[in-house]
């Protein structure tokens, strides 16, 4: 190919560049893509909470009381609220990926809608669950 015979200077000018995250203007679709990975990683760490709770429940009365009082404290509730939020945003993000896997929702309008639905739906489901939790209490 003729392209190969370019001189080095012009090749360096013309070489393909791969701009990374900080180059792009933040957009909702991109932020929700990153959020999917961050919430996934957060839920990974969050399994420690589930393991602690279940092991404490299977253990003696003292260990279960300690776990229950932690999750009932204001700090524990903030952690659990964050866990719930991460869970629902990641869940809806997964549904979004399933829709894409089916070959639908790739146009600009659908992408924007799915990103908004993931965020708003995730927050809404979290609030609904916590309202139910307080009623159940």
């Amino acid at each position: 190919m003729a392209e190969v015979n370019q001189n080095p200077a012009s090749l360096a000018q013309r070489r393909p560049l791969s701009p990374h995250l900080q180059i792009y203007r933040p957009m909702l679709t991109m932020m929700m893509s990153i959020t999917h990975r961050i919430t996934g990683a957060a839920l990974y760490v969050g399994t420690l909470l589930l393991a602690w709770y279940l092991i404490a429940a299977a253990g003696d009365a003292k260990s279960f009381a300690a776990a229950q009082s932690f999750f009932g404290s204001w700090f524990g509730r903030i952690i659990l609220f964050g866990y719930t939020l991460a869970l629902f945003i990641h869940l809806l993000g997964g549904v979004r990926h399933a829709i894409w896997d089916s070959g639908r929702g790739f146009d600009a309008k659908s992408r924007e809608f799915l990103a908004q639905a993931t965020l708003i739906g995730g927050v809404a489901l979290t609030v609904v669950v916590w309202i139910f939790a307080y009623i159940a209490r």
Partner: protein, 130 residues
């Protein structure tokens, strides 16, 4: 070799006998399978947790040990741990490029997932049978 010019394998890959293991899509496929399973399981898991809010220790243990709840919890734990192991491996492969560091991170991820999974399963089974 007769088809050297048409082969997509690199000379180094050929020397190391690196070839298709016929399992290239397994990771991506199991990610989807577990994610589908986790949609209903997560909803049921959250419902179980809501029912445990404010419960006294005795009734909380009885709920966790009842058959239906325990089966849902076990399915959620198994699908969830498999799913998170796959997801974290993707994150590791994306961001850790050194061969040794990457291999160790993948092994630690497997170990963490196995320990969390087995600990949760053991606890649920103990609550079911004690």
């Amino acid at each position: 070799m007769a088809n050297e010019s048409s082969s997509l394998r690199t000379p180094m890959g050929r020397v190391r006998h690196l070839g298709s293991a016929k399992s290239g899509t397994h990771h991506a496929w199991m990610m989807r399978v577990t994610s589908m399973a986790l949609i209903p399981l997560t909803i049921l898991f959250v419902c179980i947790l809501i029912s445990l809010v404010g419960a006294d220790p005795v009734s909380a243990r009885a709920t966790l040990g009842s058959t239906g709840v325990a089966v849902v919890m076990l399915l959620f734990i198994l699908a969830g741990v498999y799913h998170m192991q796959l997801g974290m491996q993707t994150i590791i492969e994306d961001y850790i490029h050194g061969h040794n560091a990457k291999t160790w991170a993948i092994l630690l991820n497997l170990a963490f997932s196995a320990v969390i999974g087995l600990a949760c399963v053991y606890a649920v089974l103990k609550l079911s049978f004690v």
